[in-house]
C-alpha cells in the first residue's frame, strides 16, 4: 500500500506516545546489553560446531529473516542468541490492521498495544480475498465474498472450514441486500455484489469456542438487519437458528464466549447464556432486561438506554458480566425522549450469582476491556503497563457525510477511562472507500 505505510507507522507512533504520556511512563523499552557479548574463542575443532560462536551479525541476519513470533522462540534458546536476536517485545493484545482494502493482500500488520511495536506479517495466503469477521484466543474468523467462512490461526496457518454464510437461516437474504442497495444510492452500481453487501453489512460478528480443532469447535454468528443468532459446530454442514423458545420478538446486539457458554445480549439489555455443547442448545437468562418505563441511573429511562446506546458485553473470569454502552445518534427518537446532554459512554455490571440486574459502575475490577468485532477481551491491568486504571479500548467504524456529497468511512480506535470518564482517540483513519475492512483486536497464540 506504498505511501500509506508511512502514515500507518506515524499513526502508531503517535498513539503509542499519547498513551505513554497518559500513563506517565517514560519508556518501557529497554536496550539489551550488547556489551555482554561473549568472548569468541579462536579454535573450532569439535565435530559439531558451536553455533553460539558464530559472528553476531550472522545470527542477527538469520533472525531478521524470521517472522517475529518465531524470533521470540529463537531468542529463548541461549544467552548468545538472546543478545544477537534483536529484542522484539510484542506482548498481547495486538491490533490487526488489514494491509490492503482491496482484500488482495496476503499480509497484515500487527501492532502490539502495550509496547507500540508493530510489524508486517506475511505471507498468509489464506487471508487473500477475505476479511476478518471475528477474533478469539489466537484465531480469526474470515470470510470471502463467496461467503465461505473459516477459522484461521494466522501465525501457525492452521485453518478450519465452517459452513458457508449462504446457509444462514433467513427469509430472503438477497432481498434484504437489494433493499439496502436501493437505500444507498451512492453505492457503486457496477461493483454491486449482494454477497459482499451481505458480508460487510449484515454479518455482525462470529464468536467461537477456544482452541478450535476440526473435530471440536462451536461458532455463533450475529447477523441480519434485526440482530439474529445462528450457530454451527463440528460435524454440522449448515448454520442453525439459535433462538430462545419464547415468542418474544427480540434482537441481539452482542455475543461473547466464555467458559463453554455463549452469552448473548439483547436490545433490551437481557443476557441469555446458551450452552451448545450438547445435542440440543440449552439456555438460561442470567441478567434481567431493563424495564422501559423505569428510570435508571443518570435519570435515564430504560427505553432511552435501549434505543440510543450501542451495547457490548463481556464476562470476567470471576463470573461478573459487564455491559458497555456507547451513545449513537438516533434522530428517529420522539422529541420528549431526546436526551439533553447524553453521556457518551457508560458501563454497567451485573453478577448473575448474587444480583442479576444491571447497575452503573466505574470499576472493571482492575482490568481493561478490548471491544470490537472480536470476542470481548478483559485483561488484567498488571499485564498492561501503559494502562493507568480500568479502561475500555473500543473500535468503531462510521460514515461521515459532507455537504458536497462526499462520504468518508472513519475507523477509530478509542479509549475510555472509567474513573475519570475521559476518552480519547488512539488510532484513526478515514477513507473514501466505504466498505473498508476494519481493524480488529487479536491475542496471539501459537496453539
Amino acid at each position: 500500500m506504498g505511501g500509506d505505510e508511512g502514515l500507518l507507522s506515524r499513526f502508531i507512533r503517535v498513539m503509542y506516545k499519547r498513551l505513554m504520556e497518559k500513563a506517565n511512563i517514560s519508556s518501557t523499552v529497554t536496550s539489551r546489553g550488547r556489551e555482554e557479548e561473549p568472548q569468541v574463542e579462536e579454535e573450532i575443532t569439535t565435530e559439531r560446531p558451536d553455533w553460539t560462536l558464530l559472528p553476531f551479525n550472522l545470527i542477527t541476519k538469520i533472525s531478521e529473516e524470521l517472522p517475529i513470533p518465531h524470533r521470540i522462540c529463537l531468542r529463548a534458546t541461549c544467552t548468545t542468541w538472546y543478545h544477537a536476536v534483536l529484542a522484539m517485545d510484542v506482548p498481547s493484545p495486538w491490533l490487526l490492521i488489514p494491509d490492503d482494502e482491496s482484500e488482495l493482500s496476503d499480509s497484515c500488520t500487527f501492532a502490539s498495544l502495550p509496547t507500540g511495536c508493530f510489524f508486517t506479517y506475511s505471507p498468509i495466503p489464506e487471508l487473500r480475498g477475505t476479511r476478518c469477521v471475528g477474533s478469539h484466543a489466537g484465531w480469526l474468523a474470515i470470510s470471502n465474498v463467496q461467503l465461505d467462512v473459516s477459522l484461521l490461526n494466522p501465525l501457525t496457518r492452521s485453518q478450519i472450514y465452517l459452513p458457508s454464510f449462504t446457509t444462514l437461516p433467513t427469509d430472503d437474504l438477497m432481498l434484504e441486500c437489494d433493499v439496502w442497495f436501493m437505500d444507498n444510492p451512492s453505492t457503486d452500481e457496477p461493483a454491486y455484489n449482494p454477497f459482499k453487501v451481505f458480508r460487510d453489512r449484515f454479518i455482525g460478528k462470529v464468536v467461537f469456542s477456544s482452541n478450535p480443532t476440526i473435530h471440536n469447535h462451536i461458532a455463533v454468528t450475529l447477523y441480519g438487519a434485526y440482530g439474529e443468532l445462528a450457530y454451527t459446530k463440528a460435524g454440522k454442514d449448515a448454520w442453525l437458528l439459535l433462538k430462545e423458545p419464547s415468542p418474544k420478538d427480540r434482537q441481539y446486539e452482542d455475543v461473547t464466549y466464555h467458559d463453554d457458554k455463549f452469552y448473548c445480549l439483547t436490545n433490551e439489555c437481557e443476557v441469555e447464556a446458551f450452552d451448545l455443547s450438547g445435542d440440543c442448545p440449552t439456555v438460561a437468562v442470567v441478567v434481567e432486561r431493563l424495564t422501559f418505563s423505569v428510570t435508571y441511573f443518570h435519570n435515564m429511562r430504560g427505553s432511552n438506554l435501549s434505543r440510543t446506546y450501542k451495547k457490548y458485553l463481556a464476562r470476567s473470569s470471576t463470573g461478573e458480566l459487564f455491559m458497555f454502552l456507547r451513545y449513537i445518534n438516533q434522530p428517529v427518537l420522539p422529541y420528549d425522549m431526546e436526551l439533553l446532554r447524553p453521556k457518551r459512554f457508560m458501563v454497567l455490571r451485573a453478577n448473575p450469582e448474587t444480583n442479576p440486574c444491571w447497575s452503573a459502575t466505574n470499576d472493571l475490577g482492575s482490568m481493561s476491556w478490548f471491544i470490537g468485532t472480536n470476542n470481548s477481551i478483559l485483561i488484567s491491568n498488571e499485564d498492561l503497563p501503559i494502562v493507568h486504571g480500568d479502561g475500555i479500548f473500543f473500535i468503531e467504524s462510521y460514515k461521515v457525510a459532507f455537504g458536497n456529497g462526499i462520504e468518508l468511512l472513519t475507523s477509530n480506535v478509542g479509549w475510555f477511562y472509567l474513573k475519570e470518564e475521559s476518552s480519547d482517540t488512539y488510532y484513526a483513519s478515514s477513507s473514501p472507500q466505504l466498505d473498508l475492512a476494519s481493524v480488529i483486536w487479536f491475542t496471539p497464540s501459537l496453539q
Binding site: 565435530e47 553455533w51 533472525s63 529463537l74 529463548a76 534458546t77 544467552t79 498481547s92 496453539q447
Partner: protein
C-alpha cells in the same frame, strides 16, 4: 591436508578464451583456487573492492586466512550454481541439500560467505536456515543447532513473561 595446487575454474572454460581474466584465491591451508574475475566479483563485495583498490587483477593472489580449502571449494561450487542460473531457485535448493546433509559444512560456508562479503548468497543462505526454524519450538531449535540452554531459572522466567503467548 594436501598442499598441491588445485584448480577450480568457475564459469566457462577459460582455456578456449585466453582473454578471460582470472585471479587466485588462497585458502588458509595454502591451497590455491583459480577463479574467473567476473564470476567472483559478481558474488564477493570484498574482492570487488580489493580489485578496484589494487587497480587491476594482474597476478592478484587473495589469501583467505579464515577459510579452509574444502569450505572454499564448496563455496565456489555454490557460486557456480548461482552464476549459471538467473533465479535463486537452483542455488536455494543446493544450500538446502547442504544444510540437511552437512550442517557443519553449511555453517563454515556461511562464515566464509560473510567473510568475503558475498551478500546476496549470504542472505539467501540465512533465509534457508530461517525457513528451517519456522515452526520449531525452542527445544527443537536447541536440538537442531546443538545449543545448550545457559539461562538461569530467573532469566528463563523473565523471557517467558515478556511474550508469554509464544511459549504455551
Amino acid at each position: 591436508m594436501s598442499t598441491e595446487s588445485k584448480e577450480i575454474l568457475v564459469g566457462e572454460s577459460s582455456q578456449a578464451k585466453p582473454e578471460k581474466k582470472t585471479i587466485v584465491l588462497m585458502a588458509s591451508d595454502g591451497d590455491e583456487f583459480v577463479v574467473d574475475v567476473d564470476d567472483i566479483t559478481n558474488q564477493s563485495e570484498m574482492i570487488r573492492n580489493l580489485i578496484s583498490d589494487m587497480g587491476g587483477t594482474d597476478g592478484l593472489q587473495v589469501p583467505l586466512l579464515n577459510v579452509t580449502a574444502p569450505v572454499l571449494a564448496k563455496l565456489l561450487e555454490l557460486f557456480n550454481v548461482s552464476n549459471k542460473n538467473d533465479d535463486d531457485e537452483e542455488v536455494t535448493q543446493k544450500v538446502k541439500e547442504l544444510m540437511e546433509a552437512e550442517l557443519n559444512m553449511m555453517i563454515d560456508v556461511l562464515g566464509a560467505a560473510n567473510y568475503i562479503e558475498a551478500t546476496s548468497f549470504f542472505d539467501l543462505s540465512c533465509k534457508v536456515l530461517a525457513d528451517k526454524f519456522k515452526g520449531m519450538s525452542v527445544e527443537e531449535v536447541r536440538e537442531f543447532l546443538n545449543i545448550e540452554c545457559d539461562f538461569t531459572e530467573e532469566e528463563l522466567q523473565q523471557i517467558h513473561a515478556e511474550n508469554a503467548w509464544a511459549f504455551d
